[in-house]
């Protein structure tokens, strides 16, 4: 299907992007890789009147590690994350998760900032940033601010970003402790039916597609902190979750999967 008529501006700086957002208000949408937005526009589930293409803002792409912090520009593609030797060393979980998003063609275009801003609970990278205890950097008409990943995802496809704001970057701590991502799906390129993510030896555990937002499995984290085994801790993985039912599985099945996958992820991350 063909998207509804739309305007288009290409900008080459964050300031210009913010000015365009300011001018066009709620009717404008940032266009990053387009790998989520264009499908929505084709189904006319999204019909912005203006697209602000930020692909030309070169300073928004790149990965740098300084001290204990990995900083990644919002426009860094999944493919760049997947192939970065620096990221594989500083934060192997994030590099791995990027490599299982969609298929290679999607990974060449889709961006980390786009995946986070899209805030789909079924997406892989938001849960990774959540498990890692990352921070999102946003710029708006009132300057720039940092938002903890735990505060960022506010509802289904909703985030703490204001209509006049854009994401410029993501920060995650250097994290080389035990990690794993168990993504369960039936068709290779698909989103997870359920996914379980373990970061830093169990300090961060997050769930994909177990509710309206990506979730921290806090019951699992506190059980582990209290000395529980992986089997004991994984038993509480579905606590406090409200997964949806769809043709891939009902809520009870998803809760079962959350427990099984969390157990597998903990063991894969090297925990007893």
């Amino acid at each position: 299907m063909i998207p509804a008529p739309v305007g288009y501006i290409r900008v080459d700086s964050t300031e210009a992007a913010l000015a365009a957002l300011g001018e066009h208000g709620d009717e404008a949408k940032i266009l990053a890789g387009g790998q989520s937005l264009i499908p929505l526009m084709r189904f006319r589930l999204a019909a912005p009147s203006m697209l602000v293409d930020i692909a030309g803002i070169t300073e928004l792409s790149g990965i740098s590690v300084v001290g204990d912090t990995v900083s990644i520009g919002a426009m860094t593609t999944h493919s760049a994350l997947e192939h970065s030797g620096e990221l594989a060393e500083a934060c192997p979980l994030l590099a791995h998760v990027a490599s299982v998003v969609g298929d290679p063609a999607i990974r060449h275009r889709g961006t980390l900032g786009g995946s986070l801003a899209h805030a789909d609970p079924a997406s892989d990278l938001p849960a990774a940033v959540l498990a890692l205890g990352g921070t999102l950097v946003a710029s708006g008409s009132n300057g720039s601010r940092e938002i903890a990943a735990t505060e960022f995802f506010t509802g289904f496809l909703e985030s703490a970003l204001g209509a006049d704001e854009m994401l410029t970057g993501i920060k995650v701590p250097v994290s080389t402790g035990g990690w794993s991502y168990q993504k369960f799906n039936r068709r290779a390129q698909d989103w997870a039916i359920v996914g379980a993510m373990v970061a830093e030896g169990g300090a961060g555990v997050a769930l994909v597609n177990m509710g309206a937002t990506p979730l921290r499995a806090s019951a699992v984290e506190s059980a582990l902190a209290g000395g529980a085994s992986s089997v004991e801790a994984a038993a509480s993985a579905a606590e406090g979750t409200e997964p949806s039912s769809d043709n891939n599985g009902d809520a009870a099945y998803r809760k079962h999967l959350a427990q099984v996958l969390t157990g597998r992820a903990l063991r894969d991350a090297g925990m007893e």
């Binding site: 288009y8 290409r10 264009i38 290679p104």
Partner: protein, 150 residues
């Protein structure tokens, strides 16, 4: 909006509506109908082309996003010295039946072996996850890609 891009080595300038999908621009405005459309959900890969050397689904990009880019479609592969090695391999391994998925498969495979030079058969299957074939059962496609692998 005015765009200018290179398609199979030729510079093309055109006036397009921002909502025009790249695949429609290639097929309807440039007449390059080798790039197929197989779905409405960006999942079949029949429309796969190369943008600056990397595979992309041309139904999932706007033509305006390709302004300034170098595009290669299936029509741009064969040269004076014959078929591209990947086309030749598909031919020799009989990696097609109806051929509908083939342009996308060939383009995705060219990008795949560039990006992941050491793939085994499982890796090729995984790497072509975004390209669906309704006929072949994939066996000969995997065989073809492995035979060109760098």
């Amino acid at each position: 909006m005015e765009i200018s891009l290179t398609v199979n080595g030729d510079t093309q300038s055109a006036d397009v509506e921002p909502r025009t999908l790249l695949v429609h621009f290639l097929r309807d405005q440039l007449g390059l109908t080798g790039t197929n459309i197989g779905c409405d959900t960006s999942s079949c890969g029949a429309c796969t082309i190369l943008v600056d050397g990397q595979s992309a689904k041309s139904c999932n990009l706007l033509a305006v996003q390709a302004d300034g880019a170098e595009i290669t479609t299936i029509e741009g592969l064969a040269g004076a010295d014959g078929l591209h090695p990947m086309q030749q391999a598909f031919h020799e391994s009989h990696a097609l039946q109806c051929g509908y998925c083939t342009p996308g498969m060939v383009m995705a495979s060219i990008s795949l072996v560039e990006e992941y030079p050491n793939l085994d058969a499982d890796g090729v299957r995984e790497g072509l996850e975004g390209n669906l074939c309704r006929c072949t059962g994939y066996q000969n496609i995997v065989k073809a890609v492995l035979s060109v692998k760098k």
